[in-house]
């Protein structure tokens, strides 16, 4: 019998290896799988390459993972925000590497990774410093930049509901990078607000089919990063 549900967060993350590439969903706190990130801190893997749109806020979630010195390199589009302190400090000290990628290129590199496309050409960044060192080609009179696909060893994603097959629904704009990150990772681990019986999700409503998902763990009341920050929380 197929059953991708796991008992708890530690069980979902027990085998993460040092040096892994980890795709972490979320746009700011929206869709951020904060309990899974905290689980990864507890699990202890080091020298990670993390692919995520931002670099976290305050001292919880992704910022806490970075603060715990588990991340060697960030691949992201926007490593700054009003409450982002941890990454900028380490970056200025040269203690963390940054690969800056335009947001749409980041999304398409991940999608391509999940779709078996090793590289693609995009007009984004052509003629800018972010295209330096990259192959360029002209199609129909316009310049395009070649971008390589991104694949992850692990994806950490937050969704709304999931079943034992790994089928997922999402909640509002929390969907953001979740579906494509599930596609692009060898092992996609998803925290859902509720695990439902197989057959309970209307197939018409399934956003991510279970084929892209490896582990589903229920976190009924996920914390909101902004509330934790307002409380002055830090992790661990």
């Amino acid at each position: 019998m197929i059953d991708k549900t796991v008992a708890d967060v530690p069980a979902a993350l027990a085998d993460v290896e040092d040096g892994a590439t980890v795709l972490i969903g979320g746009f700011g706190e929206s869709g951020s799988p904060i309990e899974l990130i905290h689980g990864l801190i507890d699990q202890g893997a080091r020298e990670l390459t993390v692919v995520s749109n931002n670099t976290g806020n305050g001292h919880v979630g992704l910022a806490a993972l970075i603060q715990a010195k588990r991340v060697a390199k960030m691949v992201c589009s926007y490593p700054r925000s009003s409450h982002s302190k941890v990454f900028p400090e380490l970056y200025r000290k040269g203690e963390i590497e940054l690969e800056l990628v335009p947001q749409g290129t980041l999304a398409e590199r991940i999608r391509a990774g999940g779709a078996g496309i090793p590289a693609f050409f995009t007009p984004t960044a052509a003629g800018t410093v972010l295209a330096e060192g990259k192959e360029e080609r002209e199609f129909d009179g316009r310049r395009y930049v070649m971008e390589r696909a991104i694949r992850g060893d692990l994806a950490l994603v937050r969704a709304e509901a999931g079943d034992r097959f790994g089928n997922l629904t999402f909640y509002k704009a929390g969907r953001n990078f979740g579906p494509i990150m599930c596609m692009a990772a060898k092992c996609a681990v998803v925290q859902v607000r509720r695990i439902v019986e197989a057959g309970e999700l209307d197939p018409e409503e399934v956003v991510t089919p279970g084929i892209f998902v490896d582990r589903v763990v229920e976190v009924p009341e996920p914390a909101h990063e902004s509330q934790l920050i307002a409380q002055g929380a830090s992790y661990p």
Partner: protein, 236 residues
């Protein structure tokens, strides 16, 4: 950004009003952070416009009343929004397919610099030690069909923002078609800047003096017909 009294030319709200007049009925529009966010409030009665945000919503509306914010219902500026009838959610790769694929009709952005050849710089000053962050800026200007800029005509220090060539790192070359500045409406043409409309109380000499590139006045130069608009809400 606060409105300074006695500043020459159009107010922020008046610039937004003028830009809004150019948005046709039925357009799909992406508004940047800052003054462009004010455009939605000024679209003429009777025109239906669908707003896109990079993090995966089409058809969002104003901020919700205090206490009804949802951390998973935000715009690209990470501010809470509401949904309008006909709204849709989608993942990040689809969101940027809308942008890169030419499905979004207009993007209205702020800019640090715009050049007479349509180059735009709005993501980095290239300053030593700054944390580089690009977000979706390069994808938008490379992909959206009409790239419009709203900006004060000069910096706070009075330095020109409309130049012969940008000195900051480019967001994209040759993409801007029109600038709504505090001094008027300026088209980017194959022959450089063309002043189509001028703000009340501003002289042609003042425009020329504040522009670091040749700027011609259109043969049918008009005065911007901006209404007196109440000062926009604080923090907008």
């Amino acid at each position: 950004m606060t409105e300074r009294p006695n500043r020459l030319g159009l107010s922020r709200a008046q610039m937004a009003w003028r830009a809004a007049q150019d948005i046709p009925d039925g357009a799909y529009v992406n508004l940047g952070i800052g003054i462009p966010e004010l455009v939605a409030a000024h679209v003429p009665e009777g025109r239906e416009v669908v707003y896109h945000t990079e993090n995966g919503i089409l058809g969002f509306g104003d901020a919700p009343p205090p206490g009804e914010e949802d951390p998973d219902l935000i715009n690209a500026g990470k501010k809470p929004v509401t949904l309008l009838p006909g709204a849709a959610f989608f993942h990040h790769a689809d969101s940027f397919a809308m942008i890169r694929g030419g499905h979004i009709d207009y993007c209205i952005l702020g800019a640090m610099q715009v050049a007479a050849n349509g180059d735009i710089a709005n993501w980095s000053t290239g300053a030593e030690g700054a944390i580089p962050a690009v977000g979706g800026a390069m994808d938008l200007v490379a992909g959206v069909r009409h790239v419009l800029v709203i900006t004060e005509h000069t910096t706070r220090e009075g330095e020109p923002k409309l130049l012969e060539r940008c000195t900051y790192p480019l967001t994209a070359p040759g993409v801007v078609s029109r600038v709504f500045s505090s001094f008027g409406v300026i088209d980017v043409t194959p022959e450089g800047f063309l002043l189509k409309e001028i703000a009340p109380g501003v002289s042609l000499d003042q425009v020329a003096a504040a522009t670091a590139a040749p700027i011609r006045a259109a043969r049918d130069l008009k005065e911007v017909a901006a209404p007196a608009i109440e000062k926009e809400a604080a923090g907008a």
